[in-house]
C-alpha cells in the first residue's frame, strides 16, 4: 500500500537521523561521561571476573569469599552473644524475680489502703505532706 510505504519512508528517516543535534546535547553527553569517570574512579566494581577463565557466570552471592565473610560475621555475633549472656541475665533478673513481694496479690488489704498504695499525689499534695 502507498500509505504504508510512506510510513516506512518516514520511519526510516527517523531511524537514520541523529537525534543529538540540539543545543544541550553535547553538554548532556559530557555530563554522562563525567558520571562514568566518577564511577570508574570509585574503585573496581567487584573482585574477580567471569570473562576470563571458563567464563561461567558465578554471581557475586556465590563467591566463596563472600560465604567465608558471612560465616565469620555469624561466628562473631554468636561469640558476642555468649559473652554478653550473663550480663543480660543479671540486667533482666529483678524483673522476673519471684521473691519480690506483690503487695496487692498476697496482702489482705482494705479499699482505703489499696487506694493509698495506688494513688500518686500531685506535686502540691506532695509539698503539703
Amino acid at each position: 500500500m502507498m500509505a504504508d510505504r510512506k510510513l516506512e519512508t518516514a520511519l526510516s528517516a527517523w531511524g537514520r537521523a541523529d537525534p543529538l543535534q540540539g543545543a544541550g546535547d553535547e553538554a548532556a553527553l559530557l555530563r554522562i561521561l563525567q558520571h562514568a569517570d566518577t564511577l570508574a574512579l570509585s574503585g573496581p566494581p567487584l573482585p574477580g571476573s567471569v570473562l576470563s577463565g571458563s567464563a561461567t557466570a558465578a554471581s557475586s552471592s556465590h563467591h566463596p569469599r563472600r560465604w567465608l565473610g558471612s560465616l565469620s560475621a555469624l561466628a562473631a555475633a554468636l561469640v558476642i552473644l555468649a559473652l554478653a549472656a550473663p550480663l543480660i541475665q543479671k540486667t533482666m533478673a529483678p524483673v522476673f524475680n519471684d521473691e519480690v513481694p506483690t503487695v496487692l496479690a498476697d496482702a489482705d488489704l482494705d479499699d482505703g489502703l489499696v487506694f493509698a498504695l495506688l494513688y500518686t499525689p500531685t506535686n502540691d499534695e506532695e509539698y503539703q505532706l
Partner: protein
C-alpha cells in the same frame, strides 16, 4: 561500535572485541578502561534513549543509570549467554522504560510537539531532519515498549530476534509491537502522508 551502531560484520566483530577487552579491564579495576568503554557507548545510548523517551533529560538519566548498572554488574556478563551489545542494550532500555514509568505517563501529542520541537521553524530544516522530527513527535503517543521496538528496528537496524532478546519477549510479540506501533502512527502522520504525495 558493536553495541549500538549497525556496521559491517568485520567492523562489528572488532568493536565487540574492543568492548569485551575494555569490560574485562574495567572489572580488573582499570578506571581508564571503563571511561573508554563509556565513551564508546554514551552517544548511541543517548540517541536511543531520546528516541525511546522523547526527552533528552529523561534519556540522560536513563543512560547514567544504565552506566551505573553496567559498572555494578559488569562481572555478571556472561559471553556464552549472548553478546555484550544485546546485554548492554537490554540494560539501557530497561532503565529507560523504568524511568518513564516512574516519572510520567505518555505525553499527549500537542504536549510532545512542545517537547520535541521547541522551534516552529521546521520548514527551515533539511527535509530528512524535518521528517524525523515529525515522526519523533508522533511517536509520543505510543506506549514506551512500542517506541523502543520501533527505535531498535528502524534506528539500530536490529532483527526481531535481537529486539526480542532486548525486550525479553518473543519474536512474535516484537512483531505485534511493531505492527501496533505503525498502526497507531498512521493517523498521527496523516498530514505528513499528504505532504509526501
Amino acid at each position: 561500535m558493536a553495541a549500538m551502531t549497525p556496521a559491517t560484520p568485520a567492523g562489528n566483530r572488532r568493536a565487540a572485541q574492543a568492548e569485551a577487552l575494555l569490560l574485562q579491564r574495567s572489572i580488573d579495576g582499570d578506571p581508564r578502561a571503563f571511561a573508554a568503554l563509556a565513551r564508546m557507548l554514551a552517544r548511541p545510548a543517548l540517541a536511543l534513549g531520546i528516541r525511546v523517551l522523547g526527552d533528552r533529560a529523561l534519556a540522560e538519566d536513563a543512560v547514567q543509570e544504565a552506566l551505573t548498572r553496567l559498572w555494578r554488574e559488569a562481572r555478571q556478563f556472561d559471553p556464552e549467554r549472548g553478546s555484550f551489545a544485546a546485554w548492554w542494550r537490554r540494560m539501557l532500555v530497561n532503565c529507560a522504560l523504568d524511568g518513564r514509568r516512574r516519572l510520567k505517563p505518555v505525553a499527549a501529542l500537542d504536549e510532545a510537539e512542545s517537547i520535541a520541537d521547541p522551534s516552529p521553524s521546521a520548514a527551515g530544516l533539511a527535509e530528512a531532519a524535518s521528517l524525523a522530527a515529525r515522526v519523533q513527535q508522533a511517536t509520543a503517543v505510543l506506549p514506551a515498549r512500542q517506541r523502543a521496538a520501533l527505535a531498535l528496528f528502524y534506528a539500530d537496524g536490529l532483527s526481531m530476534a535481537e529486539i526480542g532478546e532486548i525486550l525479553e519477549t518473543t519474536e512474535k510479540a516484537v512483531e505485534g509491537l511493531l505492527t501496533r506501533g505503525r498502526a497507531a502512527l498512521k493517523p498521527q502522520l496523516a498530514g505528513l502522508r499528504e505532504e509526501l504525495e
